[in-house]
Symmetry: D2
Subunit: 351 residues, 4 copies
Amino acid sequence: MNDHGKATGAEPALRAGVIGYGYWGPNLARNFMETPGCTVIGVCDQKESNLARAKSRYPSIFTTTDSGALLAQPGINLVAISTPVSTHHKLALAALRAGKNVLVEKPLASSSTECKDLIREAESRNLLLAVDHTFVFTPAVRKIKQLIEAGELGDVTYYDSTRINLGMFQHDVNVLWDLAVHDLAILDYLFDEKPTSVSATGISHLGNDIENIAFMTLFYPTPLIAHINVNWMSPVKVRHTLIGGSRKMIVYDDIEPTEKVKIYDKGIEIADTVEGVYQLKVSYRLGDMLAPNLDLTEALKAETLHLLDCLQNHKHPLVNGKTGMRIVKILETASRSIRNMGKTERLDHTP
Amino acid sequence: MNDHGKATGAEPALRAGVIGYGYWGPNLARNFMETPGCTVIGVCDQKESNLARAKSRYPSIFTTTDSGALLAQPGINLVAISTPVSTHHKLALAALRAGKNVLVEKPLASSSTECKDLIREAESRNLLLAVDHTFVFTPAVRKIKQLIEAGELGDVTYYDSTRINLGMFQHDVNVLWDLAVHDLAILDYLFDEKPTSVSATGISHLGNDIENIAFMTLFYPTPLIAHINVNWMSPVKVRHTLIGGSRKMIVYDDIEPTEKVKIYDKGIEIADTVEGVYQLKVSYRLGDMLAPNLDLTEALKAETLHLLDCLQNHKHPLVNGKTGMRIVKILETASRSIRNMGKTERLDHTP
Amino acid sequence: MNDHGKATGAEPALRAGVIGYGYWGPNLARNFMETPGCTVIGVCDQKESNLARAKSRYPSIFTTTDSGALLAQPGINLVAISTPVSTHHKLALAALRAGKNVLVEKPLASSSTECKDLIREAESRNLLLAVDHTFVFTPAVRKIKQLIEAGELGDVTYYDSTRINLGMFQHDVNVLWDLAVHDLAILDYLFDEKPTSVSATGISHLGNDIENIAFMTLFYPTPLIAHINVNWMSPVKVRHTLIGGSRKMIVYDDIEPTEKVKIYDKGIEIADTVEGVYQLKVSYRLGDMLAPNLDLTEALKAETLHLLDCLQNHKHPLVNGKTGMRIVKILETASRSIRNMGKTERLDHTP
Amino acid sequence: MNDHGKATGAEPALRAGVIGYGYWGPNLARNFMETPGCTVIGVCDQKESNLARAKSRYPSIFTTTDSGALLAQPGINLVAISTPVSTHHKLALAALRAGKNVLVEKPLASSSTECKDLIREAESRNLLLAVDHTFVFTPAVRKIKQLIEAGELGDVTYYDSTRINLGMFQHDVNVLWDLAVHDLAILDYLFDEKPTSVSATGISHLGNDIENIAFMTLFYPTPLIAHINVNWMSPVKVRHTLIGGSRKMIVYDDIEPTEKVKIYDKGIEIADTVEGVYQLKVSYRLGDMLAPNLDLTEALKAETLHLLDCLQNHKHPLVNGKTGMRIVKILETASRSIRNMGKTERLDHTP
């Protein structure tokens, strides 16, 4: 076993099997391999060429095209699933039934019913079910969370995100499930309150029914609104999020190499007079902009350390089955709203 | 009369009276003053301080706080109205009834009923009724129109615009009427086909019912979708529009000092096989980016020359009452959709 | 006389005559006209078309092609000279001899000898001699000065400026005199210490001996170095200045619409050990970036108010003949260094 | 032996030993490992921790802290040296004497004398001596070379590069040897003509004699000038190069993720009249900007394939000992010029 300089005799606490070694799987494997206390036991993929890639990097690992063979490996205690969404439920269920803790690539599954199923299975077996919503572990999003919790922004009034690029087209889910899913995870992490309804519009240019452009508005109980613009056919890559607050506002640009988060001490002030409502007296406040220094830890490294901590100390993962299900519920409800050309659909968060 | 070096004896063909000398009125006056063949006869504003500003710049002009007095000036043959939207109908109607041609600041009026009224009045009197949708006269939008007409983009698949900044809050209309109105004018100019329905969402943070953030999706008969994101509470100013086409795509960034229009020779290609629809085979095409040189004429100057041409040669203005009414119709329908939380409303373009 | 709402009977304290109404003269005239307590009495230019432009804007003013006629106007108490550099000395001398206070467009004159002459003339007549180095009055440069004086940067270690664009070619001076002059004024304003020597290189592509590209290094008594890169043949406009300090560093980008000054809490730390010099132990400090809010006053407005204050209260202008001469001395010495292909020339600042 | 799917029995043609596995060595090893026809036999580094890193990635390789042991490996036919500059000569000489082909990290050696020595040794033994000036293999620089050779730029008039960042301080060479070296390699590659003299200035803030900021001007036989600005103490990373031509101009920004090369169809035109020289008549030409699509091959991959080709087909490497020596000659001459505060030093390119 690859133990990367760990004390002789000590077995790594996180011993992963990775199912799916296409685009994201290699990142998972690399982090499991390079984080002390963690290792990769085996990799499963349907393509021999992907397995060859994995094997040439990590000659010590077991490779297979048969997920059952991977799940049968007794050394593995965490199965990481990075395959197309439509296969998540079947694979995660099999892994849980094989007694493995599970990390599923986002989104958790194709429907909230599938999610519920997985949650129940994991709970009944007392196994960890985590969802790989990596953005929650980025230094930028972590910093924004801190700022909101410290009251720096005042009351948050809106979240408005543009997440567009050319490709990568998915075959089994629309662009909301591929890109908006990141914003939904960020929203779920940043705010305690959850959206109560959603309106979405979109279009498919591909001759199938899979939307490649979509726009989503989320309504909250408080005067907070969230809007997400996703697009697989943009000539330029944009990752631009505005977070408005009554005291300060944030621009979070994930394309920026270092100054990803900018805090603007700007806002409006509404005169607090009797005639305030009718004779609106709005003035602007212009102040400094601060771009806080962000630590440079790779998000997946932080996530790996968190999973290790959960495994070692029997903790609940931050982004767990319930988180994943809340997000999938919004995705499926929004997809229904698209079919109804924007008609608002209520979000029922009762499990 | 101020004749700016025009041949002695020749009276300018465009002799303007400007009502409203606040934010935009001075730009109208300056262009009328500095364009050969045009002049300003008088300015009307409710504030004496605005009139003093006008008078100190153009000592030769007549100033008044009474719009009736301005309309009574026989020398004036075009009245330019740059006042709050709620006053457009009354002032434009009075001007037409006084026998003046009229240019109205965007949007034309507060409702499509008001617009219809103005169109009828202008037609019955054979007077020009133009709307000041200035963006239609910018070199950038003109270039985009040329590119679309030349087939450079192929079939246009989407238009997606973000137009946000801090302020300027309007007291009588929401942010759609203030900012989205520009995109609606650009869309009306760029595309022959008109939207068939609209879904919009938004929120008011001001304690009144005037939305300061709004999002609008327009559906078209063809697989074209338009989306407009407007916001008076953004810490940063953004004027960013994407126009997707089956052959090329455009990024139009109006904040850029010179390279406002970028044409990307990028796109996707869908394999044209029997199983194409089910077994989607999408590949990406990456090519050069071209930023065409744009002429530097001020849009309002081009618009002034166009109005002069209309007056001299009895032409119909490019952006006329009917244009203005189509746009107002979308704005009022979208505002209704906002009240219904995104429910799509049909757009009826029959006059 | 145009008195812009000043109390009846009170004569403006600054009554300008403007010589040269080409590119910059209109800005001077506009500020003199629009600043309370100031006015423009007359404008002189060799081109009738320029005078016509001035007259149509300000019908009350006196215009002439004869500078002598302007200087003979008794109402004028400040002559602003915005003509080619080679004419500054003759015109300024004539103005001083006519008993007028003088503001000269940058640089003050073609040589330090000419500067000395003007200084002597102004002193002997007790007249104000100011140089229009406008950058010293910009909110950005003022803020940088405050930061340096407050010790925010620690010891300033370098100033490195790139100031390039396409054109505007000057006919009588090289690109240093046209563009580097701004950095020299900023340096003179920011730092009490003055450079002791200069090395410069450059090239002329125009078939004359006027360099259109040049690079200049200034050496100071302390471990401060300044470098200036100027170019009339750049396809893009750049105004980018770095100011390094032992505690913090500044990036000043004058093209940025609002965030012109960015303060980086970054630096290096050198271990203070005996072997420090030989076994260099350098570590990096990475901290936040702050972009302070800058006021939006036009620099020329602030400069006009300063001149008004000087006239009313018999103060010395901040940017006076001596400042102008120090800068011209550097320019002429650097031009000599260019001829010697970078050979360092000593700067003698004794007057 | 690691053979990465190469045909059974076929030995890779490039079998590398890597000396120095700190910052750059891992990139060399990765490319040798992942390029068909190439492999890594062994890695040498003084630090055990670096060797452990290499071994955990590539368990099949031989590791050692003793360079002699590496050179004694008969399987190795190319030794790649990525150690501090001061050690290049000794290590490369030993490798050549052990009969190995050699690739040396830039710059080739500490002095032109050392370079000459290595060139002679390699020639006498008929071994390949290549220098790892990676920028020459980037798609951006390759594209610029093509454009220049195709005459797109007309006569090239200037090259002006800014290459600044915070750190990484070198202990044995100044910032010219660390950063300007890249521009010198690009210049050597782009232009057939070589510079005839150099003027440089700089400063050390570190309490040693190693300049951390430096500026260099290169003079050419034709009206071409090159300027390089390098700095280890900049708060921001800049990689910005302008290349001016009589027909078009290039901005090459290596920080840009995709549009690294922008070609501006801009320039000046000088009236070709008798009085042209005296009565300069310059006009500006403003045209389109084109950002050509660049292929995405990693430069080091292209370089590895080139080395493989040289080994297999007995070709001369593009960036060979003579290239390396021309660059070192400029670096040592420029360092001398710095000591003379910018005094121009002639460059003697006779070998």
